[in-house]
Symmetry: C2
Amino acid sequence: MKAKQTITGRIKRSVTLRDIARQVGVSPTTVSNVLNGRGRVSEQTARRVHQAVVENRFIINATARTLRQKQSKIVGVIIPIMEHLISFHDNPFYWAFVSGLQQTIASAGFHVMLDAVEYSSESVEIIRSRNLDGVVVVGSHESFPLTQQLAQIDTLPIIFVDSYLPTMNVNTVTTDDRFGSYLATRYLLGLGHRKIVFLSGPLYEHGVDHERWLGYVRALSEQDTACRPIAVETQMSLESGRLAAHRLIYEHPDVTAVVATGDVLAIGVLRGFFESGVRVPHQCSIIGFDDVSIASHTVPSLTTIHQDIKGKGEAVGRMLLRLIAGQGPPQSEHISLNPHLVVRESTAPPPTVLNRLPLKGGDGLQSKRQ
Amino acid sequence: MKAKQTITGRIKRSVTLRDIARQVGVSPTTVSNVLNGRGRVSEQTARRVHQAVVENRFIINATARTLRQKQSKIVGVIIPIMEHLISFHDNPFYWAFVSGLQQTIASAGFHVMLDAVEYSSESVEIIRSRNLDGVVVVGSHESFPLTQQLAQIDTLPIIFVDSYLPTMNVNTVTTDDRFGSYLATRYLLGLGHRKIVFLSGPLYEHGVDHERWLGYVRALSEQDTACRPIAVETQMSLESGRLAAHRLIYEHPDVTAVVATGDVLAIGVLRGFFESGVRVPHQCSIIGFDDVSIASHTVPSLTTIHQDIKGKGEAVGRMLLRLIAGQGPPQSEHISLNPHLVVRESTAPPPTVLNRLPLKGGDGLQSKRQ
DNA sequence: TTGTAAGCGTTATCAA
DNA sequence: TTGATAACGCTTACAA
């Protein structure tokens, strides 16, 4: 291990609190008290200490402080992943969320440590090892061993985001996914659609997409006609959406609308339909979920269920700060954010019987007569 | 400060290396040696130590280790920001980059600490305070006080990403932006375009967008006709792109192609033109930069300059690990990644004289005769 | 092959 | 209002 050396060969040491104390002619305790604003110091002394701090460009060693106080002022953001990071890199969702969180906790002097952890992991060493003050887990499932481990931790606040963990007594922040999906489906039903496909990522039990499925089903069941739910399950990615669109055309040619569980998926569908010459919304309506910033800039722009992603990061940040400060309630907190419908260009009433044009091209000509 | 207490009122202490030593009946040194695989321990002892570690769910305290060794195994990712985080939340670029970096350094046991720092900041306390082992700065400019401060640090490796700092002797990883932009512009010239607008974010001197400007200018100047460069400067965001498209139609109605310095901007333009009824690529071609995953899924899909963003994060991670291991060269390293052109649907030859349709609608009828 | 003891830079406790 | 001292949990000379 080579030591960092100056030209003179002396080991380069950073300025310590002790150095400041020595220079000012007081004890380390006093310097510490000044730095931490404990007040029991004369103004004189405080001023001199502050001056020495500036002069020597002293920066307190947070590592030592953490060791002593067992408070790191670090919050861990843990993202459960599966093998090859499916949907981890691509999803603009994460960044918006994390930047909202970062901004909020930074204002209280906290830092964010990012960690992607295998969902099958049996423990998350970083939490104890680094004395994290709090943890945020994004997108977890009850079935993950990782989730089980994390839920057992009772020595520091943990917040599960976008995770439905009904049997676990943990803090959660979610969007009301079921309601959002219900809104989307009801809107389509209101426009007159009856054949509506539900397109989602993997439907884990108690997953976000599963909640959205329940909202979709409920909306359908409230409709007096016998609307059958149709589920198409794929991955949450642009490309999966594109491919799903092509499949839809053949497997469900009579469909007039698609409820996608994510804008990413919806945008892929938009593209897939375009490639096949299916016009949106004239032949088929599409509705997304999330309202990522690009949703308002697609062609056609995307009708979607809006959720404030950055705001969610901020809400999580505030909740975490509160819990860390010990102002948390004895039992777990749950926040469910309200999504709302944003109508744009990708939805319209279904083609009428007269001008109906099935998705599948084969008998297109026939239907075009009007 | 309330201590965490168990029901019995005893302070809850985590298992330490000393506890393990005591239980096994050896010294802390031996346990440490086992844990760090230093080898000078009998296999017997090693086995017993390992067993005790597992039994007691011992996790080493990285904070204490850091304090002692002055190596934190933490890498800081610093993102210079201006006031209200313009283009920080929205840009999918960051996430892809950071996740590539994270993945790479995690495999060597390093963690990522994320920090957004004001560009005007005079110091980055976190670096010394947390004993960071390395730092990555994304998108910096020479004129930032922050950059000046960071460049002076010589006690740990710092890598500047997507930053052109010609007067500074620092490690950099960039994409060959000038060349990429040159490729884009040359491609359009080759298609026959002569009125090509350069649409960018703020053109800081030595900024990424400025480099791209130089590539654009060079391509034009190589063309034998007197192609005048036309610069339109805005913000790097979807919405700015959309608005710019509307402006373009009036300010430069004779333009037949747009070189945008980012896909985000280009996608905004796509949308803006759509809103105005300008057909892409028939009336106007658009070419982006970055090839974010959505670029291949827009309507029309985006011709763009591809750069491997996640790969850039990985390259930075590898370089950082090398530098941290002390295998770095005495002088600064520079890596320039090669971008390439990806042709999709948003580009085509310009409208011919006969079927020419200016962007501006006013005299559209006149030109429509054929 | 193993152990002793000092120290990393801070803060908490207690005393002055 | 201030200071001496002992930790926090680990690693590392150096000694045995």
